[in-house]
Structure formats: C-alpha cells, structure tokens
C-alpha cells in the first residue's frame, strides 16, 4: 500500500478495529480512511464496489473475514469479476484480491471452518491461492495484488495464532501458479496446501519412507510442471487436502497425473481428504476430522510399502 497508491482495502471492521484476527491492524493510521475502508455488513455491496473500483483503475483488496461470508456476494466475484476480461475481449480486467480466513481446527463450528476453495476453482477467470505461513502469505499477496485478474487468497485461520520470525523483503514474490518443494524425497510425492503443509512436513519427518513434500500455493492455475516432474521421479502421489473427498483439488491433480504420468506410477495415486461432511464442532471430533501428522504418515507409509491405496479412517470407523 505504501508503494502503490491505487491499492485500497475494504471490509468489515478492518480499519478502526484492525480486523477480528488483527490482520489489518495499524493500516488505518498509516493510509487513512479513504484507503482502508470500514464497510457496513454488506458483502454484496463492497465486493461489487471492489469489482467496479478494480475495473476503473484501483487495486482493491477485499477482506472477507470468514470465507463463508462470501456466499452472499458470490455473484460479484464469480459471475461479474471473473467474466469481465472475457466479455470485453481483454479490454477490461479486475485486478482484485479477495483475502479471507479459511479452514478448520479452532472449534468455530461448521459455518466458520470451511476452505471453500472449490467454489472459486470451479470458476474460469479466477485464480486461487492458499498460504501456509508468514513468508508464503507475503509472497503470494504481493503477487496477487500485482496480478491483473481477480485472485482469491485463502489464509488458514488456524495459523493466525502461530508466530514465526520473517524478515520482510519488499521485492519478494511467489509467482502465482508455482508450487514449492518444501522437502525433497524419493519414495512418494506428498502434495498439500495451507495448514496441511506443516502436517505433511511433520508426517514426512516421522515416516520411514523418504517423502517429497510440495506446497501447492496456487490451486488454480496449479503447477503442472513441478508436480509431474516430482511424480515421475518418486513414482507415487499422495494429496493431502483440507477438503471434502467429493470436492477437493486433489481430484483434478490425481486425474491429470493418472492420465499424463501413468507410466511412471508405481502405485495408484492416493487422496487423503476430509470425509464428505460438515466440520464438527466438538474438539474430539474435529481433531479426528482433520488429518493429523500421525494419520498422514501411516497412510503414506502404507502406500509406499504395499503399493496399494489404504482406506480412509471413516470407512473403518462405522
């Protein structure tokens, strides 16, 4: 915001209050109420206003607080912003960033615990990122703000409570559409994003198998090259998704790998997902609902040692 006066922020309680997660704290004092705008509880109005402002030369960042709140404003993002470039044959674009907290693990209950990336991945014209720590949040947000298209940046809200040292370098970027190899390995490729990246890392460290961990970072468009290359080396693919089985990003990746890298696979691709159910509230249930590092290590180890896909926990639970 300091470098580019066309960047503005809009959202509920983001200015004076600094946001419920304090993500925007201090911005009002620096940039003033014309650029850091507290809105009424009117998601449709301010999402749409961001679309109009983006088309007309600003770079708005909309803060959705909880990603679920976007439901009442979805038209503006998926039907209006996402088609602006297409309908104007490239003459108009909407350089718009939507950032929101997403994901489970904190006992917020089912209406405040979803990822919902599939709503956006299902819309041509939108880009979708999920951050996994302070560095990737900074790198992805910088790229998203500079991107000429609407980009949804999902931030795992469970990580807001975490603290890490990160020295900001204002030239640092993570290109949209690029994945990162977090840990190299040769027995299996384990793909994750968001809060699941640290679960994947911990699982890899505690596994007897040598697992390559990749942070997806952008779910659409996803990094086909890095992933195909990794799978062709390791011969095995596991996706670790904080998404329900029926709607997860892994379905697209697995089907592409099965089609394009079939010959290099030593085992069927395997998806570790959430069950197809809303996120439960009870701490005990939610802890089981989300893949733990131990569960992921067990699943990946089983795949590597048997070359057969293990059953998800809920198939045996009943």
């Amino acid at each position: 915001m300091t470098e580019d006066p066309t960047v503005i922020m809009m959202g509920e309680d983001i200015a004076a209050a600094g946001g419920p997660f304090k993500v925007t704290e201090g911005l009002l004092a620096v940039h003033g109420p014309q650029r850091v705008i507290d809105t009424p509880i009117s998601e449709m109005a301010f999402m749409g206003a961001a679309v109009g402002a983006a088309v007309c030369g600003l770079k708005p960042i909309v803060e959705m607080m909880f990603i679920e709140f976007i439901g009442v404003a979805l038209d503006q993002l998926t039907t209006q912003a996402a088609t602006m470039r297409y309908l104007s044959r490239g003459k108009l674009t909407t350089p718009l960033v939507v950032r929101a907290s997403a994901g489970a693990g904190q006992g917020f209950g089912c209406q405040h615990s979803q990822m919902l990336d599939h709503w956006f991945r299902g819309t041509p014209g939108l880009k979708v990122c999920v951050t996994s720590n302070a560095r990737t949040t900074y790198g992805l947000l910088r790229s998203a703000i500079e991107d000429p298209d609407p980009v949804v940046v999902l931030e795992p809200r469970i990580l807001y409570a975490e603290r890490e040292e990160y020295e900001f370098d204002s030239s640092y970027r993570i290109s949209l559409g690029r994945a990162e190899i977090v840990k190299a390995g040769k027995d299996a490729t384990l793909l994750a994003c968001g809060a699941m990246v640290r679960v994947a890392k911990e699982a890899a460290e505690n596994s007897s198998a040598d697992i390559e961990v990749i942070d997806m970072l952008t779910l659409w468009p996803w990094d086909r090259d890095t992933i195909m290359e990794s799978v062709s080396r390791t011969g095995r693919l596991v996706t670790l998704e904080e998404a329900t089985a029926g709607n997860g990003w892994g379905a697209e990746v697995v089907s592409s790998v099965a089609v394009e890298a079939f010959g290099s696979l030593k085992a069927p691709p395997h998806r570790i997902t959430l069950p197809d159910a809303p996120v439960p509230y009870s701490g005990k249930l939610e802890a089981r609902f989300l893949p733990s590092a131990a569960y992921v290590a067990e699943q990946v180890s089983a795949l590597v040692s048997t070359n057969k896909t293990p059953m998800p926990w809920w198939r045996n639970a009943a």
Binding site: A45, G48, G52, P60, Q76, Y86, G90, L92
Partner: protein
C-alpha cells in the same frame, strides 16, 4: 446527421448533442430492436433477447446527460442504452447474432454488450449486479481525483434485491458520485409490480438512505435529461448519490418467449398513446427543428441504415474457435491486454 452513421461509438455519442440526432437515435433503437426480433424469427439469434421498445426516451435522455468517460452499468435489457451511449447498430446486432463484428466479438450475446470507449461496462445478466459495481466505479473516480460519475441503470425488479439496498446504503455513507437510475416499467420479468413491491414509487426508498429520490416521466426524453443533469451535477459536486425513477413501459414481454398475456386489457394501448418517439417528434416540430414530413423521412433513412447494418452483420463470420480460450485470464491465449479505465 452523418455522424451517427459513423462507426465510432465516441463520435456517435458526441453527435447526441444535436436535437435531431436525439430523435434519430430513439428511432434507431426502436428499429434495431424490431430487426432483432425479426432476426430471432429468422433463426439468427440464439438464447433469448430482452427488448425495451417503449423505453427509448430513457436511454437517450441518460446518454445525452453524461460524458463518455462516465461509467455506466446496465442490465440485460440494455440494447437501447448501448445504442444511445454510442454503440453502433452493427456492434449491437452483431453481438446478438454471435458474429465477430459484435461489440464483444460474438462471445457475449444479447445480454452482454460492452464498449469501454464510451464507459459501458459489460451489461449484466444478473438482476441488480450493476449497482455495487457502479459504487466501485464512483469510489475509483473519487480516489483518482476526477469528477467522473457512475450511473447504474436497473429495473424495478432490482429494487427488491439486496444489492439495491446495500448499494444505496454504501453509496450514501461514502457520499459516492453515483446516480441510481431505476427504469420502472411496471413488470419484473412476468410479475406486475404490485405483486412484488409494496410501494408504488421506487423513488421513495431513497429516503431510507438519505438521498434525493425523484420521479420522472420516462417517456419524455427532455425530462429524463433534466433530472439526470441535476443528479449528475450533484454527484460531480461531491454531494453524493441520487435515486432517479423513470416511469416507463416496455411494449413487449420480458423476453422473446413471453407474450405478456398477464397485462391488463388496455394498458399497452394507453402507453402507446404516450410513445417517447412521438412525444419528442412533436416537441421538435414545435421547436421548428423538424419540418412537416421530417419524421417519416427520418424513419425511412434509419430503417435503411439498420438494414445495411444487418446485412453487414450477416456477412460477418462467427468467431474462431481460439476465441473460446483467448481472454479467460492473464495466462490465457489473449495475454494481458487490459485497458484500465481512468488509469491516466
């Protein structure tokens, strides 16, 4: 008179300063829509169309009151507004026929007309979608230190959508330079306003949002222009938004599949007696700008021009297959060739 035959939307817009051209443009809108209906019957139009015959006074009245670099959002019933703002008959008919000559190259269709050069954002097929977008355009105008305004054109049906209330509230709180223009044609799709809306006048809703709400005879292009000029001037002065309600009527049903049998007997006939083209032609006659027989010769001339445009459209090819992927995102085949409004 030659200007409006120009292929330049901007030149056509500027030509609207002329009184005779205003009349000519209303006739053009009427005839283009008639031709579109015929093209539908002839099998050249896919999907649906939403005609606005009877509402030409509103379109031309708005277009002549704002500058080409003001921003307009509009609904799927936007053929008339697009033509009034400057789009060429070939650009509109071509889009509706899905040909490359169309204003969106044939990928948009009847509900998605667009022309950045005259401030027309892609018209929206979602009721009420343009209102918040206009608020954002107004926000950008102010942030960039210009005195440009945004105009949101929508129907009475939109006045019951959340976006209407949220946008009026947001615009009022932010004192945005936006003019909300409600075309109250008495029907939201197939439903008469009394069955969907507990108030007769949408304009009274402005009171809840502490902005002026005015009721205008939409059949009289001069009254439309006068009310618009007041609201636009207020917005340009930084005094905030207005809600302007145009009382008008669409002669046809909601879309091509709707014979409008739900209308009470005699209603259409009563409105036809207050036809915006006739009202304006009479005024120009009184102003001695239109000679005896002038209206008829104007109609003949416009009809010929519309036929010429139609022939041009039917000669124009369908888009190439590559257009499917050409402009989905910055990573797609068309690359990043955006034109940011007001970026200078």
């Amino acid at each position: 008179m030659t200007l409006s035959n120009s292929n330049s939307p901007l030149a056509r817009r500027e030509a609207l300063d002329d009184r005779l051209e205003q009349l000519r443009r209303m006739i053009e809108i009427r005839f283009v829509e008639e031709r579109i209906q015929k093209l539908f019957a002839e099998g050249h139009v896919r999907g649906s169309t939403h005609l606005a015959s009877g509402q030409e006074g509103v379109s031309v009245g708005i277009a002549r009151s704002i500058d080409p670099d003001d921003i307009v959002t509009c609904t799927y019933r936007g053929h008339g507004h697009a033509l009034a703002l400057g789009l060429t008959p070939a650009g509109v008919i071509g889009e509706i026929c899905g040909r490359v000559i169309g204003c969106a190259g044939g990928v948009g269709g009847s509900m998605h007309l667009v022309e950045p050069a005259i401030g027309l954002l892609p018209t929206a097929a979602i009721i009420g979608a343009g209102l918040p977008i206009a608020c954002g355009a107004a926000l950008a105008a102010r942030a960039r230190g210009t005195d440009r305004v945004a105009v949101a054109i929508f129907g009475d049906g939109s006045a019951n959508i959340g976006a209407f209330h949220e946008s009026l509230n947001f615009a009022a709180i932010q004192k945005l330079p936006v003019v909300f223009v409600c075309e109250n044609n008495l029907y939201g799709e197939y439903t008469r306003i009394q069955l969907s809306t507990p108030v007769e006048d949408i304009a009274i809703r402005a009171a809840s949002y502490n902005m002026p709400g005015v009721i205008v005879d939409g059949q009289d292009a001069d009254k439309v222009a006068e009310a618009m000029a007041t609201a636009v001037a207020r917005a340009r002065r930084g005094e905030g938004p207005s809600l302007v309600e145009m009382k008008t009527y669409r002669y046809s049903g909601h879309s091509r599949s709707d014979p409008a049998t739900y209308r009470p007997a005699g209603e259409l006939d009563a409105w036809l007696k207050r036809d915006p083209i006739d009202i304006f032609a009479e005024r120009l006659t009184a102003e001695t700008l239109l000679a005896a027989g002038g209206l008829d010769s104007l109609k003949t001339e416009v009809r010929e021009a519309v036929e010429t445009a139609t022939a041009e459209v039917l000669d124009s090819p369908a888009p190439e297959l590559g257009e499917i992927m050409a402009h989905v995102g910055a990573y797609s085949a068309g690359g990043d060739q955006r034109h940011l409004f007001w970026s200078n």
